[in-house]
C-alpha cells in the first residue's frame, strides 16, 4: 500500500519534471550552439565591418578630392587596410563570402599606392563603385549572419515559451489524470474499507443482540426454573394417594357399608380426613395455578425479549399505557423466589403516580436486571439484614423508579465505567446487563443513574422515565 503510494508520487513527480527538463535541456543545447556560432562569427563580422568602414573612409576621401583635387594619404591607407581585412577574411575560410571583393579592392589599392589626383579617381570611378558594392555586400553578409543568429535566438525563445507552455499543459493534464486515478483508487479502497467495517459492525451488532437475548432470557429462566421446581414438587408428592386408601377401604366394606360406618373406628376419622384432604388439594391447586401463571408470564416475557430483540433491527417498539406499580410488581414477582431463597428482605415504597406510556418489556428488562444485581450485591455483602427497597416517585416530567440495596456498594473508580460494555465485578458476569439497561432507558426517552457512597455502603439505581416515551409521542 505504502509502496504503491510512493510509486504513484514518484510517477507524478516524473510527470511534472520530465517534460520541463527535456525542454530545458533542448534549449540549453540550442543556446550552446548559438553561442558557438556567435563566437565564430563575431571576429569575422568585426573584420568585415572594419573592411567596410575603411573602404568608406577611402570613398569619403575620394569625394573630398573633388574639392581638394587630390586623394589624401589617410584615405589611401584606409583603402589598403580594407584590402588587408578582406584578405584576412578570405584566410579565415570565408573566401566564398568575400568573393571578388578582395581582388578588386587589392587591385585598387595597388593602383593608388601613395595617393591620386581627382582625374585619376574619376577614371577609376567604376572600379571604386564596384568595390564599394562588393565591400558592402561582404559586410551585409556577415551582418545578415549575426541577424540570423539573433533571429534564431528570438525564434528559439518563442519556441521555448511554446514548449514550456506545452510542457506545463502536458504536466497539468498528467497531474489531473494522476489525481483522478488516485482519487478513484482511494475511493475504491475506502468503499472496500467501509464495506468491511459495515460487515464487522453488523456482526458485532448481531453478537450484541444475541448476548442481550441470552442475558435477559437467562435472567427470566431463573424464575422459570423456580416455578417449574415448585410445580414439580407438588406433582411428585400427590396428596391424592390418601384418597386412594379411603377408596380401597370403602370397597373392602362394600358388603356392609352401613355397619362399617356405624361400628368401625376408622370410619369415624374419614369425614375429618376427607375435609382436610380437600382443603390441601385446594391449596395445592391454588399454588400450582399461581406458579403456572407466573411460569406463563415468564415465558411470555422470554417471548417478548426475543421479539423485542428482533424488533431492534426494525427500530419498532410497541408502547402501552401502564400503571407503574403493576410494572414494578411484575418485575418483583419474577425475582421473588430468588429474594426469598437468599434471605433478602424486599420493601416497597410506592407513591401514587400517573400511568405512563412505555414499552413494557424494555422496562421489565431493566428492572429485572437491577433487582438481580441488587440481590447479588446484598448476597455478596454477607450482611444479616439484607434489604432491597423498591421505590416509585413522581417527577416533574415523569416517574422515577429506584432500586436501593444495602449490599457491597460501588467503588468510586468504578462509577464512571459501570455502564460501559464489558465492565463487571461479578465472577460470572459479562458486563452486559447495566450497559443494555442504560441503552434501553435512553431508547425510552429516560435515563439510568447510579449512586453509591462507596464500597460497603450499598447502591441506588434510579430509572427515570417520561410520561410518554419518544415512540409514543408520534402515536
Amino acid at each position: 500500500m505504502k509502496r504503491a503510494t510512493d510509486k504513484l508520487i514518484a510517477l507524478q513527480f516524473l510527470a511534472v519534471v520530465l517534460p520541463i527538463a527535456v525542454v530545458l535541456l533542448v534549449q540549453m543545447a540550442a543556446d550552446a550552439r548559438r553561442a558557438a556560432r556567435l563566437e565564430h562569427s563575431r571576429p569575422l563580422r568585426i573584420l568585415a565591418s572594419e573592411a567596410r568602414a575603411n573602404y568608406k573612409t577611402f570613398t569619403n576621401g575620394a569625394a573630398d578630392a573633388v574639392d581638394t583635387g587630390t586623394l589624401g594619404a589617410q584615405s589611401v591607407k584606409a583603402l589598403q587596410t580594407a584590402a588587408a581585412r578582406l584578405t584576412e577574411l578570405a584566410d579565415h575560410g570565408e573566401a566564398a563570402v568575400v568573393g571578388d571583393a578582395e581582388s578588386v579592392v587589392k587591385d585598387l589599392a595597388a593602383t593608388l599606392p601613395k595617393g591620386a589626383t581627382l582625374s585619376t579617381l574619376i577614371s577609376l570611378r567604376s572600379r571604386i563603385i564596384e568595390s564599394d558594392t562588393l565591400t558592402k555586400a561582404v559586410d551585409d553578409e556577415f551582418e545578415r549572419r549575426d541577424e540570423f543568429v539573433v533571429k534564431d535566438a528570438i525564434a528559439s525563445a518563442v519556441y521555448q515559451k511554446r514548449a514550456v507552455t506545452g510542457a506545463l499543459i502536458i504536466t497539468a493534464i498528467l497531474t489531473v489524470l494522476f489525481v483522478l486515478a488516485t482519487r478513484r483508487r482511494l475511493k475504491a479502497r475506502l468503499e472496500a474499507d467501509i464495506s468491511a467495517e459495515r460487515e464487522r459492525s453488523r456482526q458485532a451488532g448481531m453478537a450484541e443482540i444475541a448476548t442481550n437475548v441470552l442475558h435477559n432470557v437467562g435472567n427470566v429462566l431463573n424464575s422459570v426454573n423456580i416455578s417449574a421446581s415448585i410445580v414439580t414438587d407438588r406433582v411428585r408428592k400427590p396428596r391424592s394417594a390418601g384418597l386412594g386408601k379411603v377408596a380401597a377401604l370403602l370397597q373392602e366394606q362394600a358388603a356392609d357399608l352401613v355397619g362399617f360406618v356405624a361400628n368401625d373406628e376408622r370410619a369415624k376419622h374419614l369425614p375429618v380426613y376427607l375435609a382436610q384432604l380437600a382443603e390441601h388439594l385446594a391449596r395445592d391447586q391454588e399454588v400450582t395455578l399461581k406458579e403456572l401463571d407466573l411460569l406463563r408470564k415468564n415465558i411470555d416475557h422470554i417471548k417478548e425479549i426475543v421479539s423485542m430483540q428482533q424488533s431492534y433491527s426494525k427500530l419498532v417498539g410497541v408502547p402501552e399505557r401502564l400503571a407503574v406499580a403493576n410494572l414494578v410488581d411484575d418485575a418483583l414477582r419474577m425475582n421473588a423466589g430468588s429474594f426469598t431463597r437468599h434471605g433478602v428482605n424486599l420493601k416497597c415504597e410506592f407513591e401514587d403516580v400517573p400511568e405512563i406510556v412505555v414499552e413494557k418489556h424494555k422496562v421489565l428488562q431493566i428492572l429485572v436486571n437491577l433487582l438481580r444485581n441488587a440481590r447479588y450485591a446484598c448476597e455478596a455483602s454477607g450482611k444479616p439484614d439484607k434489604e432491597v427497597v423498591m421505590r416509585i416517585a413522581k417527577q416533574a416530567a415523569g416517574v422515577q423508579i429506584a432500586v436501593i440495596d444495602n449490599g457491597i456498594g460501588i467503588q468510586p473508580d468504578h462509577m464512571t465505567r459501570i455502564f460501559s460494555h464489558g465492565f463487571t465485578t461479578k465472577k460470572d458476569g459479562h458486563g452486559f446487563g447495566l450497559h443494555s439497561g442504560a441503552l434501553a432507558a435512553r431508547d425510552l426517552g429516560g435515563a439510568l443513574h447510579v449512586h453509591s457512597a462507596g464500597a460497603g455502603q450499598g447502591a441506588t439505581f434510579t430509572l427515570d422515565l417520561p410520561f410518554k416515551s419518544p415512540e409514543a409521542i408520534y402515536d
Binding site: 570613398t59 569625394a63 573633388v66 582625374s119 571604386i128 563603385i129
Partner: protein
Amino acid sequence: MQRIFTIWMFSLLMAGACSSAVGDNLFVVCHAGVALAAADVRDVFLGEMQFFNTMRLVPVDNIEAQADFLDKVLRMSAGRYATTWAKKSFRDGINPPAALANDAAVLEFIKRTSGGCGYLAIAPPEGATVIAKY
C-alpha cells in the same frame, strides 16, 4: 586622367550649349508606372531619390537638352552638376545618369527600361508618362 575629366566636363558644357538652341519646352518623362511628382525630379537627377515604391529609378541625361534641363530644373551649372555627381558616386557608390545623345535615344531607353526617367526637348509621343513640363 585629368585630361579625361576635362574632356568629360567640356562635353557636358558643349552639350548644354547645343541643346539650348533646340526649343523652349522641356518635358520630363518616365517609364510607364513611374508616377513621380514634379517636385521629385530634382532629387531623382541628383541621386537623392533612387526608388519609386520598390522600383529602382534609372535617370538618364539627354546631351542635346541637358543645358536647358540644368538651367530650368536643377538650376545649376554643368560643372556643379558634374562635381555633385562625382562626390555622390564616391560617397554613396552610385553611378551618375548615363548621358544619351538625343531625344530619340532617351525615348527609346525610357520605353524599354523599367524605372527609366529622362527629359526631352520635344513633345513626347501619345501615351508617354509625362512627369513635368518646363
